[in-house]
Assembly symmetry: C3
Homo-oligomer: 200 residues x 3
């Protein structure tokens, strides 16, 4: 089931990359690359920082196939992609929840401090979008108005709080993932943002 | 002979970096750095992703000397550099062919899937230019109109197709490299581009 | 004492990140991230290139605490930060001196060529600012008018020149660090810049 969610998240991330690349009038190759880095960028940074090389997507070719297929389909059916926006947002949000947990898990295995593990989880979930925006020559959207990363951090904190209770690890994973997902859904639904630090 | 081509490619890449940095009115240090990252950026990303550290250029000081010398000469003789444009383009194209093969070879040694090896080859050949453009605050040219990466991918695919035939490895290398070079030369000569995905 | 200087440098770098992020109207999370990458970016690149992973700041949680505390204080007292500009510039300059030496030391331990060690030192000291500027969608300031990197290179060269003399290593460190600091102070004081390569 984890693997299925992972693949769904990868698809959602890849398609989000295609949409941004389209707006920048990139060519076919550019669109594929942006889809790719959006989908695997976060995990790649995580693997590099902890020294787990070759990085994940190089070891499992399935990601490459899924990303290329998603990007090609998104290009072909781009006029219809608006109908899928809700599903994509949903996959994307689930993907973020899962990616956060994958990052945390890898940090724990590398014997790192809980705060660093949460940072790794947040990175895994959000850095693909950062690279996408840098390659498209924009200030990363996550630095300006997304509650995105905050959801990952809350989920990560939840993990380290409840892992100390006598609960099964699987349940801890599920609860933490749900915290990420619900935080993001609520934030988008009720337009919750971080407190404004620029008083007018 | 490989080493000679490698050095010629490095020179061409370094000079291409100098030219872009000039247009951005960078200072002496900026120009040197852009020359450097253009020349070694692709190989560095490749080495990082597969975990082959310290990265190549740190282990062979010759690259550093060649890049600094090329950059300094390009700065001194910048008014004459137009006369060299054809030679530089030629070195650059040969460099791309070689860099692609070096990347593929390293991927094979790391026991990675052929598609990943082709991606590594393409990265080695093209990522230096991507970093150059990011540092100069431009959308990487390769994502918009270059057939550049396509040439690397075609050459890489050729490699994995003909390596299965009873041909000597050296010959396979030479043929694949020639595919990269000829594809690029033809694309530039006849202004071949990827199919336009933005119908007007 | 080294550790104290290191922490002071980290604070100065983090605050410089906060100031740039403010100008870009980033949200709270964006400001924290920019503070973080400005402070640890150089050391992270250095560790990745030489393969020393997990990277330094992941192994010592103190950096994370210091950076978050500095950023939060800088945000709260941002209207007063102008009074601290001189102190910050001073910490920053000392930080650069120290970071240069840390990078050189790591390069020597990895058995790399002196020129590569100097490059690692310069990177450690300056790359945080480069990433900061890229994330803020600006051409890195260091490529246009800062004598910054030149100070690191001079300090690094000093190190390798005088280490051959019969002087204690600690003294060599201190002298080299002072060369970095004094070069930068003099350059800023007397507005010394690299020779202009764009004749008008």
């Amino acid at each position: 089931m984890f693997y299925t969610i992972d693949i769904l998240g990868t698809i959602a991330f890849a398609v989000s990359g295609v949409l941004v690349a389209f707006n920048k009038k990139m060519d076919l190759f550019g669109v594929l690359i942006i889809a790719f880095v959006t989908a695997v960028g976060g995990g790649t940074l995580r693997d590099l920082l902890i020294g787990d090389t070759p990085v994940s997507w190089m070891k499992d070719i399935a990601y490459t196939y899924v990303i290329i297929a998603s990007a090609v389909l998104a290009i072909i059916f781009r006029s219809k992609i608006n109908y899928l926006r809700t599903s994509l947002f949903f996959f994307d949000t689930i993907g973020i929840g899962l990616y956060t947990l994958v990052g945390i898990e890898k940090g724990i295995q590398a014997d790192l401090h809980p705060i660093i593990c949460i940072a790794l989880g947040t990175m895994t979930a959000s850095f693909g979008g950062v690279i996408r925006d840098i390659l498209c020559n924009e200030i990363p959207v996550i630095f300006r108005k997304e509650i995105y990363a905050t959801a990952c951090i809350l989920g990560g904190a939840t993990y380290f709080l409840i892992i100390q209770l006598p609960i099964e690890t699987n349940v801890v994973f599920i609860i933490s993932g749900i915290v990420v997902i619900v935080t993001r859904l609520l934030a988008v639904r009720f337009k919750i943002a971080l407190p404004n630090i620029y008083r007018s």
